[in-house]
């Protein structure tokens, strides 16, 4: 079923530009009037803008249901038109884009609301309330950019959004730009994110160049517009190596944006941003743009199995790799960050293999539960901050904490370090429960959302790419383990620091969104239940190859499938993964309650901060240090780049080119020549020649007296030499 190119899209479809413009209006209002509005008003204004965008998305969704999934393209304005290039800013409304809009708008709005409360505290903790408005302006900007991305009708507009969200990410990671390591750490983290993303964008750009070069001649009327439909239509006519190149370059873009190997390094550092940022941008929405891109490009990816294979492998390896790192992190957000990378690996693997629906499904559920986890983590952190605050203001408690410090923890108090937490389930009940929901969803326990989506990916993987299946399954095991570890470290046991003991629950403005998200995480999986496959059918309107494959699969399952196929659900796969998850959780339980108890007997100085450290030894250190990838890049890329550019700038360009070549060779040579001409030649060389001649002449005249030459006569000599030369030449010529 192809989309109808509706220029005069009827009804709600024509509202689609508003998904972009509501947030834009919101941010403009906040820029212009924000100075006069109170904090609450700013936050609610921004939330309203985001909520309205979500409302539009809902209306679009309803219209789509009404049109039985038939999407439309809504042209907005001409962007770039030169010769055979015709780029439009057009909106695309189909089930895929609306799904994304719903996620972005819905989760986005919830996080906006949450942030009203969270940022209120955050700007105070960090001592700069002036930034409150800035935060919401950036946040709205992000929503707008993300909406541009998901609503784009062509690759270039998608890229506009793509870079736009990158910008917001940069700005928000560096939101506390005067904080972090040496006061500049956050700013550097932002820069790292942007530049890493740019590396990916380079891939995206090259892919688009290739597309233009090879698709344009085949385009209708010779005019190429980069829109998804025409790309899909032309792609089969293009040589497959070209398609392979395009898809692989695009994969680089995906790796950048969705934090896949080898470009994942920016995402953990991106946790420097305020927690709502991590939730919205670095978990739920922006980082999934890569997945969305591959799903969008299903038509070209489906043409080249090799590319699909690569994508799947990248996704699979990333999933496992990041999961191992997550196991050994102590920062509550870092764990979630690596978990995000890992989960993105799942999605990328899925869309890579051609399981577009499964990938998209996981994208949606992941948006729910990961946003939830981050926000609850934010709640935890905020709670810890409160605790810390309480401690700071209570001399008694402060002394108590000092003692603790003397006992072992020498570092400055870090409210994000899980080693400082523990036992929070009593002090922050709501947070605990919602966190648990999120964790279970992530771990893939029936019936939480993550189970359904992850299982679908695993089932498809087994079918399409067994190697990747095993990678993902092991990753799933780790996932359950580190989530178990985190929940236990944070919420169970005894408080390991005084602030943890003093932590308390956050206000409803923060907890209500959490609860909503918790519900979504719990029941979100029901979007695509066996037999019913609501979500599959929904996406199938847009993604046809997936539709065919899945339909074939579903039919096979319904009619001639083996016993373990149950309404599209592979029971073996589901069972195995659930079993592994449960084992992992149990293992975590064993280690982090029993083992920790056992270790308590050791003196504090020799007691490891994590039981696993003693159990795994160097492996744990490797995981803790992210397998030294940052260091590797520092050594392989950053240091050489800095060195080369220093060398070019200081040695080649300045010392050699500027100083030596210009000043010494050109200018110096010039002056030298002038000097030579002014002195030796004018007075010496010509004199010398003249003298020589004069000597000869004198010899001829038998006047062997050495006569001191004077200037007038030298001048005459010069004339004479000139005459002699000219006459000699003429005589020579004439003969």
């Amino acid at each position: 079923m192809l989309l109808s190119e509706a220029t005069n899209a009827g009804g709600n479809f024509s509202l689609v530009p508003l998904v972009v413009f509501f947030p834009l209006i919101g941010l403009l209002l906040n820029i212009i009037f924000g100075g006069r509005l109170g904090e609450k008003a700013i936050g609610w204004l921004a939330s309203l803008a985001s909520g309205l965008a979500f409302g539009v998305a809902v209306l679009l969704g309803i219209s789509l249901i009404g049109s039985h999934g038939a999407g439309v393209t809504v042209p907005f304005l001409d962007w770039i038109t030169i010769g055979s290039l015709h780029l439009q800013w057009a909106f695309r409304v189909d089930t895929l884009s609306v799904t994304m809009m719903l996620v972005v708008g819905g989760v986005g709005t919830l996080i906006h609301i949450y942030a009203i409360g969270y940022m209120h505290e955050d700007v105070r903790h960090n001592g700069d309330p002036g930034r409150y408005r800035r935060f919401f302006v950036f946040f709205n900007l992000f929503i707008a950019a993300m909406m541009v991305l998901v609503s784009a009708d062509n690759y270039l507009m998608l890229f506009v959004g793509w870079e736009g969200v990158g910008l917001c990410s940069y700005l928000l990671i560096g939101f506390w730009y005067d904080k972090g390591k040496d006061g500049i750490g956050n700013a550097i983290a932002g820069k790292k994110a942007f530049i890493t993303n740019r590396i990916g964008d380079f891939g995206f750009l090259v892919a688009s160049f290739l597309m233009f070069k090879f698709f344009q001649p085949l385009a209708e009327g010779g005019v190429f517009s980069f829109d998804f439909d025409s790309v899909a239509a032309i792609a089969p006519k293009v040589a497959s190596p070209v398609i392979l190149a395009i898809t692989l370059f695009m994969l680089l873009g995906v790796a950048g944006k969705s934090a896949q190997l080898p470009l994942f390094v920016w995402l953990p550092d991106a946790m420097a941003g305020p927690t709502p940022v991590s939730a919205l941008i670095h978990a739920a929405t922006m980082v999934t743009a890569g997945v969305y891109l591959v799903a969008r490009s299903f038509a070209i990816y489906s043409l080249v199995p090799a590319a699909q294979n690569w994508v799947a492998i990248v996704g699979g390896v990333t999933a496992l790799f990041a999961a191992t790192i997550a196991v050994a992190q102590f920062d509550i957000k870092k764990v979630l960050a690596y978990s995000t990378i890992s989960q993105l690996g799942f999605m990328v693997a899925a869309v890579g293999m051609g399981a577009f629906v499964a990938g998209m499904f996981h994208l949606v559920t992941h948006a729910f539960f990961k946003a939830l986890l981050f926000l609850s983590a934010g709640s935890v952190i905020q709670g810890m901050e409160h605790g810390h605050h309480a401690v700071e203001h209570d001399p008694l408690l402060r002394r108590k904490m000092k003692q603790n410090e003397r006992l072992g923890s020498t570092h400055h108090f870090d409210p994000q370090d899980m080693r400082n937490m523990g036992g929070l389930r009593h002090r922050m009940k709501t947070t605990y429960w919602v966190y648990l929901a999120g964790a279970l969803a992530l771990a893939g326990i029936v019936p939480w959302a993550g189970f359904w989506s992850k299982d679908e990916i695993l089932a498809e993987a087994l079918h399409l790419n067994p190697a990747v299946y095993w990678l993902l399954t092991i990753a799933a095991f780790f996932t359950a383990f580190y989530m178990g570890r985190q929940v236990i470290m944070v919420f169970f046991g005894e408080p390991r620091s005084e602030p943890a003991a003093q932590a308390h629950e956050n206000p409803p403005i923060m907890t209500v969104p959490l609860v909503i998200l918790a519900l979504l995480s719990t029941f979100g999986g029901f979007l695509n239940l066996p037999f019913i496959h609501t979500f599959t059918h929904w996406i199938e309107y847009t993604i046809h190859p997936a539709a065919e494959a899945a339909e074939a699969g579903a039919e096979a399952a319904a009619h001639a499938g083996p016993w373990y196929m149950w309404g599209g659900l592979n029971l073996i796969v589901a069972g195995l993964s659930t079993l592994l998850a449960l084992i992992a959780i149990a293992l975590a339980w064993m280690i982090y309650t029993r083992r920790v108890e056992a270790l308590k007997s050791l003196p504090a100085a020799r007691r490891p901060d994590d039981p696993l450290r003693s159990m795994l030894g160097p492996v744990f250190t490797g995981m803790e240090h992210k397998w030294w990838v940052d260091e590797l890049y520092e050594f392989l890329i950053i240091k050489p780049y800095v060195a080369i550019s220093r060398f070019l700038a200081e040695v080649i360009d300045w010392k050699f080119w500027h100083d030596f070549f210009h000043d010494t060779i050109i200018a110096g040579g010039y002056r030298g020549l002038a000097w030579i001409f002014a002195n030796p030649i004018d007075l010496g060389v010509i004199d010398g020649i003249a003298n020589g001649l004069a000597e000869g002449v004198r010899g001829l005249a038998a006047q062997a007296r050495r006569i001191q030459t004077g200037f007038v006569r030298n001048y005459a000599l010069s004339v004479f030499v000139g005459v002699v030369l000219i006459i000699s030449y003429l005589v020579f010529q004439l003969r």
Binding site: V697, G710, F711, V712, L717
Partner: protein, 100 residues
Amino acid sequence: MVPVMYYVILSAILFIIGALGVLIRRNAIVVFMSIELMLNAANLAFVAFARQYAATSGQLFVFFVMTVAAAEVAVGLALIVAIFKTKASINVDQINTLKG
């Protein structure tokens, strides 16, 4: 009859002697006399050619040259006298404050 070329060669030799005189001698007056010698060498050539072509213009030229030489002498000697007053020398080698 002596071929005209002989005169020309003689005049050339005289001319060169004159030129060498300019190059070699230091006394300004002698230098100036050498220049006169060069002019007279030219005169000789003129007269010789005039005779060859039986053209009077060549001989006419000689008179002009002589007149001009006389005028130059007037100016030149005056200059030399002036220099001598200032420097008490007419050695051209000592007249070298301007250079570079």
